[in-house]
Amino acid sequence: MDYATLLQLLDTTLRFATPLLLACLAGLYSERAGVFDIGLEGKMLMAAMSSGAVAALTGSVWLGLLAAIGGSLLFALVHGVASITFRGNQLISGVALNFIASGITVLVAQSLFGQGGRTPPLTGGARSNPVILPFAEPMRDVPVIGPLYYEVISGHSPLVYLALLMVPVTWWVLYRTRFGLRLRAVGENPAAVDTAGVSVRGLRFAAVMITGVLCGVAGAYMATALQAGFGREMTAGRGYIALAALIFAKWRPWAALYACLLFGFFQALALRPDVVEGVVGVKVPVPALDALPYVLTVLVLAGFVGKAIPPRAGGEPYVKER
């Protein structure tokens, strides 16, 4: 494998890792607050359709992004009301929302555009176009670093940089701010938060809403940057892979970045069987490569990669005891 191929591979890795990372961080907020969210997938799908439809209708990617966040927030709100206000089962609520998303996105897209549940292909200002980072052009000819900067780091949708920026931001919020302290506390022992005079419900809703916003961005990226438009089931299990990455990362922001890059790398490999063959020396069937991220997910969930201890109050609705 030559350097150029490697750069291509890394470039694809970064693009594939972005929606995973956004969804993973989204899940991190919710789960750190004690609300399990298996509905990341549904929220991303809902957001992808909303952004695809609005961007197609208005021609503005930014209005599309807003619509994506709105659609995702709506689902987050339902999840919050079901699992926080009415203390319902969080897994059931999440699964239900995934099913609803799967159906409603196709329904809406079909009734709006009549193209078999797709949105029309997005072009121009309706897409999230790449930005060339400063000095990318002049640095292009610098050996080794130049191409790396130009090919891999520069030239992505702004949402990629937003996703990367969210990693230190999330770390900072969790460990350096009052909100973060309370958020972590409410996921570990909500009774401690309650007796300290802080609203458990308020904190959990805030966390679930942040999850909604980030899933919205993830969905918008899927429909307006990674691809040009919405197609049915286009998230293809990314919400679940993000959950696996979250467990892999033991609910920590920086580890989430590395986990998502790894999963993104596997997805990128699946596109280049020729490269894999060149490195391994054997022809690996494409379906096997496609399955790699899922195999890793299963291994992670089965606990083969270290023991991951979830937030202690995770999945349990808070009921005040006497």
Partner: protein, 526 residues
């Protein structure tokens, strides 16, 4: 002018605010249950006030109202002479009330500092709050013997230290009134003594303390005044110096109670249980029992004392056939299986071992099942419960349950009621009745009176002694030193999976046992 206003305010404040807390006519009902009925108390500033009562007497409800967990249906709360509404915990904190719950409200994987500032942070950023808390904690530690490492994780701290963190949390919020709910239940005698020293120190600084407990000894030792609650009502408030444990017990139960177990000398016979070099590892491979050897003879009670978590639970589990181990256990000279492959609770029962487990709600009973179903558990193969080869004789079972309920004074004596509908004491009586009535050779009893009210404690103790006098062997595990001291014929103290030594209850004392429970050996004594 300002001087005279100040003087005027003081003059009006002085006669109306001699009390830190005044509750006037507090009533609270949960559906048809009247948890608090027209309760009024006054607690003087700088005093320690005890609230004592049986389980379900309404102590915790009253304190939850004071801490803003519940809203009273009627009545008012007066703090420092001012009528104060306490709709939530935030208001209670603002009114200067701090509460140390029986089950600590701490975040296990947070540091002490993080726990202390949680909810009382200053500003959006943590750095400043953490620095301030570190400083304040150092001052409080010096003032009140409340030393604790500010950077330690809660999960690494002993229970006694975790409790200090709870007290520090309250003091950090500048609480003047501190409520402690059953604070000594989880502490060793030495830790309890330390806690009382802390409380006396707080009192000297003018803090007001409310102590909720069911332990008469503690009330007598540390409180200035004490209120007794019974069935939601405040039956009396007296000066501690002018009362006696007997009088308080009578006020709690509503009748005369024997506080000391009446029992004659033991008449031990042949060895029933012989345990030799018993070892048990838990799921993580940590050794929980490190070579236990003991003997229990017919007609005697061996009491196992120790702080919870030093291997007593594992000992009961292995003996009861719920866990595997290595070593030897002999019942009347016959070896019994320890590998767990050929044994379970059923086979143990067949060998004459009955087991009243420590955790009656999870191991002793199925809470959603009726009393008669619960009475059948473990003995459902008994021939008298079978109608024929296929069906059980439920009528016989219900009749038998009714008879047992009468013998053991279970109230209400209704076999068809779900186990969860009985009070803790009556639940325990159901379990004890089930096990004792089978006339076992060996009775294993874990925490027989945990969460059980005084009247029922007296009854259960009597039954255990009666079984002993009938020539049966009894192994009693309890974290209540009083219970161990008064029931046992011999006392073995467990610490860290080992037996620290054996003592005669007539010649030992709490101090000596307390030291052994803390792992202190005085030379060759153990």
């Amino acid at each position: 002018m300002s001087v005279s206003t100040d003087a005027g305010r003081q003059a009006t404040a002085a006669p109306t605010a001699p009390y830190a807390i005044e509750l006037k006519g507090i009533s609270k009902a949960f559906g048809p249950v009247q948890a608090n009925k027209d309760i009024s108390i006054q607690v003087a500033k700088g005093s320690i006030h005890g609230i004592i009562g049986e389980n379900g007497a309404g102590k915790s409800t009253l304190m939850s109202i004071l801490y803003g967990f519940y809203k009273a249906d009627r009545g008012e709360i007066v703090i420092n002479g001012r009528v104060t509404a306490i709709p939530d915990s935030q208001s209670a904190i603002r009114a200067g009330i701090g509460m140390v719950f029986q089950h600590f409200k701490l975040v296990q994987n947070f540091t002490v500092l993080e726990n202390v500032i949680l909810g009382a942070e200053e500003g959006q950023m943590l750095a400043g709050s953490l620095a301030k808390a570190r400083r304040v904690l150092r001052e409080l530690a010096e003032e009140y013997e409340l030393e604790v490492d500010p950077d330690a994780l809660i999960e690494d701290l002993s229970v006694g230290h975790q409790q200090r963190v709870e007290i520090l949390k309250a003091l950090y919020r500048q609480a003047d009134i501190l409520i402690l709910d059953e604070p000594t239940g989880v502490l060793t005698p030495a830790e309890a003594d330390h806690l009382f020293r802390i409380l006396r120190g707080l009192k000297e600084q003018g803090k007001t303390i409310i102590l909720i407990t069911h332990k008469l000894r503690e009330i007598m030792e540390i409180t200035d005044t004490v209120s007794v609650m019974r069935r939601g009502e405040m039956t009396a408030t007296v000066k501690t110096a002018e009362t006696s444990p007997e009088q308080l017990a009578e006020l709690m139960v509503g009748r005369k109670v024997l506080l000391h177990v009446a029992k004659g000398p033991a008449n031990p016979g042949a060895t029933v249980l012989d345990v030799e070099n018993l070892r048990v590892k838990d799921d993580q491979g940590v050794e929980r029992l490190k070579g236990i050897s003991l003997k229990v003879r017919a007609g005697e009670i061996l009491g196992i004392a120790g702080v919870a978590g030093n291997g007593q639970s594992e000992l009961l589990a292995v003996l009861g056939g719920m866990q595997a181990g290595t070593g030897h256990i002999r019942i009347k000279g016959d070896e019994i299986d320890l590998t767990g492959k050929h044994s379970n609770g059923q086979t143990r029962r067949a060998r004459g071992i009955a087991h009243v487990p420590e955790d009656r709600q999870h191991l002793g009973l199925i809470m959603d099942f009726t009393a008669w179903e619960n009475v059948a558990f473990g003995y459902h193969h008994a021939p008298e419960y079978q109608k024929n080869r296929l069906f059980m004789d439920n009528d016989a079972l219900r009749a038998d349950t009714e008879r047992k309920m009468a013998t053991f004074d279970v109230r209400p004596p209704i076999p068809t009621l779900a186990a969860k509908s009985f009070s803790g004491g009556n639940q325990q009586k159901i379990v004890v009745a089930r096990e004792i009535e089978r006339n076992p050779d060996l009775l294993l009893v874990g925490q027989p009176t945990r969460g059980v009210d005084i009247g029922a404690i007296e009854f259960i103790h009597k039954q255990i002694v009666a079984l002993r006098d009938a020539g049966k062997a009894i192994l009693l595990v309890s974290v209540e030193l009083d219970e161990i001291m008064s029931l046992s014929d011999r006392i073995a103290v467990m610490f860290d999976g080992r037996i620290m030594g054996e003592r005669d209850p007539r010649s030992t004392n709490e101090r000596e046992l307390g030291l052994m429970m803390a792992g202190v050996t005085d030379g060759g004594a153990a």
